[in-house]
């Protein structure tokens, strides 16, 4: 049970204190993490973040306040403190008046289906599953170090605002992560594995987490010591859904966050190339990238955002052109449009900011086999380890982990250290074909200060890029 009354009290109190707008979010995040470090259990981590976050506007200035002392006195105290702070700022020349978009007031209750409720999943289950996963790795002679982690969390939220909106939600999530080190006399490889979704513990079966984990372990042991070098050159490159997903997330999703375009993240994650690219052309007609929080059982699932706006799919890039940005009520208000419900907050103590949910390249109509057949001499990069991108989201790098040579339209031996290092416009302009598959990977996306890690999926089909310049480590 959440202290729902306190959310209503906060909004009423804010109104009494003269705030023009207010919203209150009572949120409880409960989590369990069990880890095995090369078979030895670490201390299991259990905990909760439970409190109230209040966002409110005073004399046009936006303020945020939070506390985990859930009493009326405490809420009144932080609101009075916030008012004093905003009064100080409103009196200065660096004050800015915010304009939030007009949105309809609504009432909603939503939750994720779970066969076994989070409250009924005990620590034994986490221990047993983690042991089972460890069993799959411990007899592999090339695997020398292994950290296997299973986490479960339950997010309960109750949101109200001064315009009459009320949203209650419940989202359980499960995440399997592993960090594997494998080596022989000639080669050493390391790999992060991250598989997760929202739902009861059965969601891990639904998204084939255990099979995927097993496939990863087999792939690691298969490629270590067998990886050949290739020369730096221009290649046709096939990438797997994991690589397609990180490309979509980093080079399209982040720069399409409207707060970044306005410069709000300038000192942190940076701004966006969309400040400069006026043509709106990002890539070839094959470049179709979307963000959709409503995918059932996805890791980035939500039906209403942290400002009480109904969530929907956003088609960010359509046929190579900019179609829609990710907005919250503040950036939508500035743009004179409605919010598309992209506001998220990682816990009660932080402000909602514009975030991705499940960002992916839309599938096409090729089969994977047809894509490989299209490549006479090229490379297949199935997964990656090292990656980064500059703060305008133009200059990016993806270093292949599981990668293979393609010769005469057939997948051949594994290759080592191949690097896609290119610009966003060059990358997406080289996109030639998309397969029918659509697969996702789990990730925790970071943004904002205070840093907010939120669960997301990244994904896509198999992609064929023609004529990419590849480097080698």
């Amino acid at each position: 049970m959440l202290a729902e009354d306190l959310a209503h009290f906060a909004v009423e109190q804010a109104s009494k204190l003269g705030f023009e707008y207010s919203e209150a979010r009572v949120q409880r995040d409960t989590f369990i993490t069990v880890s095995l470090n090369s078979g030895i259990p670490d201390v299991p981590l259990k905990g909760e973040f439970y409190g109230i976050g209040i966002r409110a506007i005073y004399k046009g200035a936006m303020g945020f306040s939070s506390t985990n002392v859930l009493t009326k006195d405490s809420v009144t105290n932080v609101l009075e403190n916030l008012k004093r702070t905003l009064e100080s700022i409103a009196a200065t020349k660096i004050n800015e008046k915010v304009r939030m978009s007009e949105e309809d007031a609504l009432t909603a209750n939503w939750s994720v289906d779970e066969r076994t409720p989070f409250e009924d999943v005990n620590l034994d289950w986490f221990l047993k599953k983690t042991r089972e996963l460890d069993e799959l790795t411990k007899n592999e002679s090339k695997i020398k170090q292994r950290l296997i982690r299973l986490s479960g969390s339950l997010q309960l939220k109750y949101f109200v605002n001064s315009e009459g909106t009320m949203v209650r939600s419940r989202v359980p999530r499960y995440l399997l992560t592993a960090f594997i080190t494998a080596y022989d006399a000639s080669d050493i490889a390391q790999r992060f594995i991250e598989i997760g979704g929202s739902g009861g513990p059965e969601v891990l079966d639904r998204i084939k987490a255990y099979e995927k984990f097993n496939e990863e372990i087999r792939a690691i042991t298969n490629i270590v010591g067998r990886r050949k070098s290739v020369k730096e050159d221009v290649y046709d490159v096939v990438v797997g859904p994991e690589v397609a997903g990180i490309m979509a997330h980093e080079s399209i999703g982040h720069p399409f966050e409207a707060d970044r375009v306005r410069g709000r993240e300038g000192a942190q994650g940076g701004e966006s190339y969309l400040r400069e690219i006026k043509s709106g052309k990002i890539g070839s007609a094959e470049a179709n990238i979307s963000d959709d929080p409503t995918i059932p059982f996805s890791y980035g699932y939500f039906l209403f955002d942290e400002e009480g706006v109904k969530a929907r799919k956003k088609e960010l890039v359509k046929e190579g052109a900019v179609n829609e940005l990710l907005h919250n009520r503040e950036t939508a208000g500035e743009a004179g449009i409605n919010s598309n419900a992209s506001a998220r907050a990682s816990n009660y103590s932080v402000e909602p900011i514009i975030r991705m949910s499940n960002t992916f390249v839309e599938p096409g109509d090729w089969t994977f086999e047809e894509i490989v057949k299209e490549v006479k001499d090229g490379l297949f990069i199935k997964s990656f380890m090292e990656w980064n991108i500059d703060d305008r989201r133009l200059n990016q790098r993806y270093v292949g982990f599981e990668a293979y040579r393609i010769s005469n339209s057939e997948i051949q031996e594994p290759v080592k250290g191949i690097i896609i290092e290119t610009t966003t416009l060059n990358l997406w302009s080289k996109l030639y074909a998309r397969s029918r598959e659509l697969e996702f990977s789990a990730a925790t996306c970071g943004k904002g200060d205070p840093e907010q890690g939120v669960p997301v999926w990244t994904g896509g089909p198999y992609l064929l890029f023609k004529g990419l310049n590849l480097k080698v480590r």
Binding site: A3, N37, P41, V43, P44, L45, K46, G47, E48, G51, A61, M62, G63, F64, S65, S66, T67, L70, T71, N81, L82, S88, I89, T92, I94, N95, E96, L123, D124, K144, Q145, L147, F179, T181, Y183, I188, Q190, R262, G263, R264, G266, A267, Q268, G269, G270, E351, M385, N388, I389, D390, D391, L394, N395, V399, G417, E421, T422, T423, N426, K471
Partner: protein
């Protein structure tokens, strides 16, 4: 006393416990385009609870003060069903030496005034825009352990960083202090503005190996990674290139790095760690030799040594890292370089392999080409692609002056670093 409520429930149910209560007041002033986008006031109280019974252990973060007893009892139930394994040891009865606190309260009005002046400073220097943040903290820690340790510690911390933009260039500046007196956003903004203006029209350079000067922000980012990799847990799990290298020379003789649990203006200082052990200082690199691994009691037991007071219940971690200054001025470092690049900041470091130390990082904000000992022109779109062991052994010069760095994303542990000259660094371009 909240901790006494927890103690009453667990003292007869467990063998050992360590309880830490943190009461945190936080003020945030966040701005962009020279205007405040949000001001935040946050107040939190939470308890970190470590308990062991026999060879079982549990660690829980408690934030629900209204249902504290329920949360503690849930942790005790966990103790019953958890697997046996290595258990941490709560530190025996000891005394702590708290650092003298600088400010009794957060000086909000003075800090706000300094932030406004910093924005003015940047615009009067001619930048297009400035974005940044000031974060002000007042924290009270209370420790209570089953071994009879008790301590209360109070502190204030002030953190500011900003980026100024001009044309296609940008610059970074930061100020980190435990006292409002030494909190200096104006100088940080002035530095950011100066670098933004210098880097206004950057040019491309060819990919290749360069001699580079790494300024304190990027040098701190590198040294933070190295300090983290001195953790026994990091080494055991595979997150470190320092496995089996204790006692070896990993850097030139001029390089010494020390972790301090408590130090003036170290904004991550505390007199005790998460197991109640007193914090101290640990020399990590001494005259180029890797001399110490940092430990909590669990890793120490495995390595047959003593804790260094760096718990982290699972992963021991550094508190405040200081790299000793060298013997040259910054200007001399530039004069010594025939062709190279002065790098002022970085972001988004990712490893291809932690065991080999291969990584790349985006060079962000001003990067300045050096020709014949002088700054020639700003450069754009470069990435440092290297390995930590190679980079450390290729340090050629270390500046006299050092600076504290801590900022979002890249330098989380406070690091006080000099400028360093590194030969043969690979810079790539897309």
């Amino acid at each position: 006393m909240i901790l006494d409520r927890v103690k009453q429930i667990i003292s007869n149910a467990v063998d050992q416990y360590s309880l830490i209560e943190s009461d945190v007041d936080e003020y945030i002033i966040r701005f962009y385009n020279g205007k405040v986008t949000v001001a935040a006031v946050n107040r939190s109280t939470y308890i970190q609870m470590l308990a062991t019974k026999g060879r079982k252990k549990v660690f829980k973060v408690l934030t629900d003060m209204q249902s504290l007893e329920k949360g503690v009892e849930d942790a005790l139930k966990t103790l019953e069903i958890i697997e046996e394994g290595e258990v941490p040891e709560v530190y025996p009865k000891t005394s702590y030496s708290n650092m003298e606190i600088s400010d009794k309260e957060i000086a909000f009005d003075e800090a706000l005034s300094k932030v406004i002046n910093s924005v003015d400073k940047a615009y009067s220097a001619g930048v297009d825009r400035i974005a940044g943040i000031a974060k002000l903290y007042k924290t009270t820690y209370n420790l209570l352990t089953s071994t009879g340790n008790e301590n209360e510690e109070k502190r204030t911390d002030y953190i500011y960083y900003a980026r100024a933009f001009k044309g296609n260039g940008s610059g970074f500046g930061n100020s980190v202090s435990t006292s409002i007196k030494r909190f200096d956003p104006e100088s940080a903004a002035a530095e950011a503005a100066e670098y933004a203006k210098i880097s206004e029209s950057p040019k491309s350079i060819p990919e290749g190996k360069y001699t580079v000067i790494l300024s304190p922000p990027i040098a701190s980012a590198i040294f933070e990674l190295v300090a983290g990799m001195c953790s026994a847990y990091s080494i055991d799990v595979g997150f470190s290139f320092l496995k089996d290298r204790l006692g070896e020379t990993i850097a030139p003789e001029g390089l010494s790095m020390t972790d301090y649990g408590q130090i003036s203006d170290g904004v991550n200082s505390r007199s005790f760690d998460d197991e109640g052990a007193p914090t101290g200082s640990t020399k990590l690199i001494e005259k180029g030799r890797f001399v110490s691994v940092i430990h909590n009691s669990t890793t120490a037991k495995k390595w047959r040594t003593k804790t260094t007071g760096n718990a982290g219940i699972i992963d021991p971690s550094p508190w405040n890292v200081i790299i000793d200054g060298g013997d040259v001025d910054n200007d001399e470092m530039i004069k010594e370089i025939k062709e190279g690049v002065l790098i002022t900041n970085n972001w988004y470091t990712r490893f291809n392999n932690y065991r080999t130390g291969e990584f790349s990082t985006i060079i962000r904000d001003a990067a300045l080409y050096i020709k014949n000992g002088e700054i020639s022109h700003p450069v754009a779109n470069i990435r440092l692609s290297d390995s930590l062991p190679r980079l450390l052994t290729s340090i050629k010069m270390i500046s006299k002056n050092t600076k504290w760095v801590k900022w979002w994303g890249e330098v989380v542990t406070p690091v006080k670093s000099p400028y360093i000259t590194v030969e043969g660094a690979t810079l790539t371009v897309p």
